[in-house]
Amino acid sequence: MDARDEILGKLARKKHGGGATGISGHMKPAVAMKTGEEMVAQFREKAAKLSCGLSELSRMSEVPGEIERVLGEIGTMPVLHVSDEPELASLPWEDVPGLRTSREMDRDALDGVAALSACAAASAETGALVLTSDADHATAIGYLPDFHFVLLRKSQIVSGFEGIWAAARTNGGNRDLPRAVNIIGGPSRTGDIEATMVMGAHGPRSVHILLVDG
């Protein structure tokens, strides 16, 4: 008998007759049930707790200028790698002649650079951003750059995990999920040496959210 049949056979023989524990209903904590302005306020607070940077902008057209300003504060970072999402390509990059943009997304191009991507959602429950893979979004953009800027529209903020799943499913065609759903809670970190938190383990040292109205 092959391993699959043997394991499944054993599990079937051990299956309890009848009295299986039911698990109807669902349970959501209050922290995952905020709506409206309260939800946005909680997102701000939780994202800050995760050490994310946050710029609040009223118009999409302010995004390039704000990125230039933040990069200027960090120091020299002459090139910004911009992900293929259409809403990013249409931003007024000509307004910031000092900031060169690149569309290169291969592993060597993304290694250690500054990059901008859009996202699928963000969760007010934890302050995390949700990035999903598709033709316009390489998963590596959330991991290889040193500085990751994420464009988030206020309407993309959801209350909690339940909203994340809904957003992820829609992006993957209702039932199925895209290959990668990455729920990113701030810069990469490790506490593996003497339990001291050090930022910038394997992923970005900085995650900066550009929160735009609408």
Binding site: I7, M105, D111, A140, F161
Partner: protein, 483 residues
């Protein structure tokens, strides 16, 4: 539980026979004791602060217990559903009865793609299987990428804690290890500060991620309805392992399944809070199948190895509740034994209370009899468990089995046998206990016994025994004094 000589019997190598000796060394190790303090006080406090902010935490634990019980009662059905969804998404599922079979499958998958290097993210199941030496024998170079696992891999040690594998080491020890290991990459300057050590590991491992032919990860959860694996990390190394190499293999136990994404949300709310008191881990990721045609990156193949290795034997036994475990480490951090002697003393990948139940099931009680006995039965482990596993009870079951099978030392067996005989005879028991009290009082100086005779002398070697006062319990009870 499994008949001997079964070629598919569970396998896990342990050195738990040496628990007492290891524990003695651990207690004398000042560096280690410092590290243990972090778990005992720091992690426990973080957890308490974290969960105090979620008033529904207790109800969520009840629900998590019920969801896991439901899954265990229907495990085969959920595994079949999961398999079907993985295949529909273009992935493959492999089944392994035990460690040898799992290693053989993973070795074959690596050989098929002519793999020279493998990058791994932390997986306790692959530690259980001893996968790395198996792949190395095949001539494959294996790099652990979780910083803690990477450090202990370089030092050829076993993980100290399922969540913090290298927390028993000082930064000086890590510095020495890196200095020696990184010369081959042309890094000849010795770095000593924590930030610099993290940076150096990042630089060295970044190249390994980019070059590796295969990425191997575990899976914290398997989602039946979507055929996804869920990975939880703080460093982002699991995501790089699952994204950059051309081939991704996920290795995990058959018990890790949850029915739906909604259920997954429940466990993602419990795991980081129980481990470190955090609202969320840095990276919670779902991976479903290989790279889609239009995706700009991702692996070409997606293989999942489902490992039994003793788990199906636990199902339906008195140890079934243990299969609910989500490996948060809260029971280790709360345990007075773990936080006194540390993980290495257990001689098993799985340590602390969860390890004391899990290890005998996989390695056999003959090799791991010491572990269920390494408990004060204080109940803290059960109190903090997010899926409400009755750990002290399960340890007690192992003790009973061990006693039945005569694996306990003769002295202990003789003593317990004598106690049982005398306890069944009330008049004799009263006489013996009241005499014992009088003898102890006669031996005492100022109320303390400095040295007991015979094998009881072991007890007074390190401490004194308080001589009993005011007669035995029954004598006092009969006099009507209940204070």
């Amino acid at each position: 539980m499994t008949p001997p000589n079964d070629q598919h019997a569970p396998e896990m190598h342990v050195t738990s026979e040496r628990f007492s000796e290891n524990a003695r060394h651990a207690l004398d190790d000042k560096v280690l004791q410092g590290g243990l303090f972090i778990f005992a006080k720091g992690f426990t406090a973080l957890r308490e602060i974290g969960i105090s902010q979620v008033p529904e935490f207790g109800d969520m634990r009840d629900r998590a217990r019920d969801v896991k019980n439901h899954v265990l009662e229907n495990l085969g059905d959920y595994l079949k559903q999961f398999e079907e969804r993985v295949i529909a998404n273009g992935g493959r599922v492999h089944w392994a009865r035990n460690a040898s079979e799992a290693n053989e499958i993973i070795g074959r998958l690596c050989a098929e793609v002519n793999a020279k290097t493998v990058v791994k993210s932390k997986s306790m199941v692959t530690e259980e299987l001893e996968l790395n030496p198996h792949l190395e024998k095949q001539g494959i170079e294996v790099f652990e990428s979780d910083l803690g696992e990477y450090i202990i891999q370089l030092r050829k040690e076993k993980p100290f804690h399922i969540v913090g594998p290298a927390l028993h080491l000082t930064k000086e020890q890590v510095s020495d290890t890196f200095y020696e290991a990184h010369q081959r990459y042309g890094r000849t300057e010795k770095v000593t500060e924590k930030e610099a050590l993290v940076r150096e590991a990042r630089i060295v491992l970044r190249e390994r991620f980019k070059q590796a032919d295969v990425g191997i990860t575990g899976a914290n959860f398997l989602v039946a309805e979507t055929g996804s694996i869920a990975l939880v990390t703080n460093e982002g190394n699991a995501d790089l392992s699952a994204t950059l190499p051309k081939h991704h293999i996920a290795v995990t136990g058959i018990e890790k399944i949850v029915p739906t994404l909604e259920d997954l949300g429940l466990f993602l709310r419990l795991l980081p809070r129980s481990a470190l008191g955090l609202d969320t881990a840095n990276y919670l990721s779902l991976y479903t199948g290989p790279k889609r045609d239009s995706d700009p990156d991702g692996p070409e193949t997606f293989d999942i190895v489902l490992v039994d290795n003793g788990r199906s034997d636990m199902l339906g036994s008195e140890f079934q509740d243990m299969l609910r475990c989500i490996r948060c480490g809260a029971c280790l951090n709360g345990c007075p034994v773990f936080t006194s002697v540390g993980g290495q003393a257990y001689g098993s990948v799985y340590s602390g209370p969860m390890g004391a139940v899990w290890t005998p099931a996989l390695a056999g009680i003959t090799h791991a009899a010491n572990l269920p006995n390494a408990s004060t039965f204080c109940g803290k482990c059960e109190e903090v468990c997010p899926v409400r596993i009755p750990l002290p009870n399960l340890m007690r079951h192992w003790r009973e089995r061990e006693f039945e099978k005569h694996y306990t030392p003769t002295g202990q067996r003789w003593g317990m046998g004598a106690w049982r005989w005398i306890a069944g005879k009330p008049a004799l028991y009263r006489l013996a206990s009241s005499m014992g009290g009088r003898v102890l009082r006669a031996m005492a100086r100022k109320g303390w016994v400095k040295k007991l005779p015979g094998f009881a002398g072991g007890w007074t070697e390190m401490r004194d025994l308080k001589a009993p006062e005011g007669g035995s319990f029954l004598e006092q009870y009969e006099k009507g004094r209940r204070s």
